[in-house]
């Protein structure tokens, strides 16, 4: 016999849990900074992490409704993938090839492209922030 669990919430696409997490982070940092509203989010996405695309704005509008981030805009900064060959030191794009195009080496490391984080938020504040003075 197998047992079955259904998720309580109906999830439509993989973007949704990602946006939920994004919202939680943005609201928390906004609150800490004394924000009245979060107006913009600056998200950094590495080419190799392939998690979200522009369609996420649609889910974003849905889930941020009624929060301090309602109506905010998402900005994506894409970081191109960069691989480094440990054999000859060559650096190259994963779009060229996977083994090193210079020496054929396969001992490679990812130098860039796996990022996925919220870099900054833009907020409006009344001026009474709860932060410690710098």
């Amino acid at each position: 016999m197998s047992r079955s669990i259904n998720r309580s919430t109906a999830i439509i696409m993989h973007e949704l849990p990602v946006t939920e997490s994004l919202l939680e982070i943005a609201l928390r940092h906004g609150r800490d900074a004394g924000a009245e509203a979060v107006t913009d989010l600056h998200v950094v996405i590495g080419e190799l992490s392939s998690i979200v695309d522009e369609s996420v704005q649609f889910y974003w509008d849905m889930i941020s409704e009624g929060t301090a981030a309602a109506g905010s805009r998402l900005h994506f900064r894409r970081i191109p993938g960069r691989l480094g060959c440990r054999t000859c030191g060559n650096t190259y794009s994963p779009r060229e090839d996977l083994p090193c195009p210079a020496c054929g080496g396969v001992d490679i490391e990812v130098l860039a492209g796996e990022e996925f984080y919220l870099e900054a938020i833009d907020i409006t504040a009344t001026g009474q922030t709860q932060r410690e003075p710098a």
Binding site: S2, F116, Y117
Partner: protein, 225 residues
């Protein structure tokens, strides 16, 4: 009114990663060794689950958690092969995440399990980004998918601990350059344990089962179990 930019720099999947660490601690504590099967749809995850369960059932106590968008067909197959099986319906979501695994662990008696296999939803893009907390990830590739997959889905090949190349019985009928495929996989993941096999004919299964058994036993012995 002041407009201000606030630096954040926080990993977006950090919450999932913390939960995954909780799941791992729970599995460690209970002495359950766990594998996460990742693959494209139809690569043969459930077939490999069936083979693994039916061949190891006498030696290890097995449980299977099946992620599926809507049905319980895969969990039923795992149960029929002799495992305790739990189905997670993701309701359209294209991968499992740490919260869903946590829910499935809640309904299992972990003290009665040696090896837990999680069959993730068939998809090469998203699951690789969502840690579950399992001990090892296994990518199940298959010959009919083509030999260019490592080049197209580098993320999926980078994070895994073992690679199964299923359906080798179809090699004579399909354009699949094994050397080209393995060169791509090796570039992304040097030294990756690789098992070419066929769930249909049984070819290559012994090496795979030996790896699973050794990993499970090693995990248990290092914990004095």
């Amino acid at each position: 009114m002041i407009n201000e930019r606030v630096p954040v720099v926080e990993r977006i999947l950090g919450a999932n990663e913390r939960l995954a660490a909780d799941n791992r601690a729970r599995l460690d504590e209970a002495g359950v060794f766990s594998l996460n099967f990742l693959a494209s749809p139809g690569a043969g995850k459930t077939s490999l689950v069936e083979q693994t369960v039916s061949r190891l059932a006498g030696q290890l106590r097995l449980a299977v958690i099946d992620g599926d968008i809507a049905t319980s067909l895969d969990a039923d197959r795992a149960a029929a092969a002799g495992a305790t099986a739990v189905q997670i319906n993701t309701g359209g979501d294209c991968h499992l995440d740490a919260v869903m695994l946590q829910g499935a662990l809640d309904v299992l008696d972990l003290s009665a399990i040696d090896l837990l296999i999680v069959e993730n939803v068939g998809n090469l893009v998203c699951p690789a980004n969502f840690a579950l907390g399992t001990h090892r990830s296994v990518l199940v590739a298959s010959v009919p998918e083509g030999d260019d997959k490592p080049y197209k889905y580098p993320g999926a090949y980078r994070g895994v601990d073992a690679l199964v190349i299923n359906k080798v019985d179809l090699l004579p009928y399909v354009d699949f350059d094994m050397e080209y495929f393995q060169r791509g996989a090796a570039a992304l993941n040097p030294g990756l344990a690789t098992f070419p096999l066929s769930c249909r004919t049984g070819e290559g299964l012994d090496q795979w089962l030996e790896w699973v058994t050794n990993m499970t036993r090693h995990f248990k012995t290092t914990r004095g179990m």
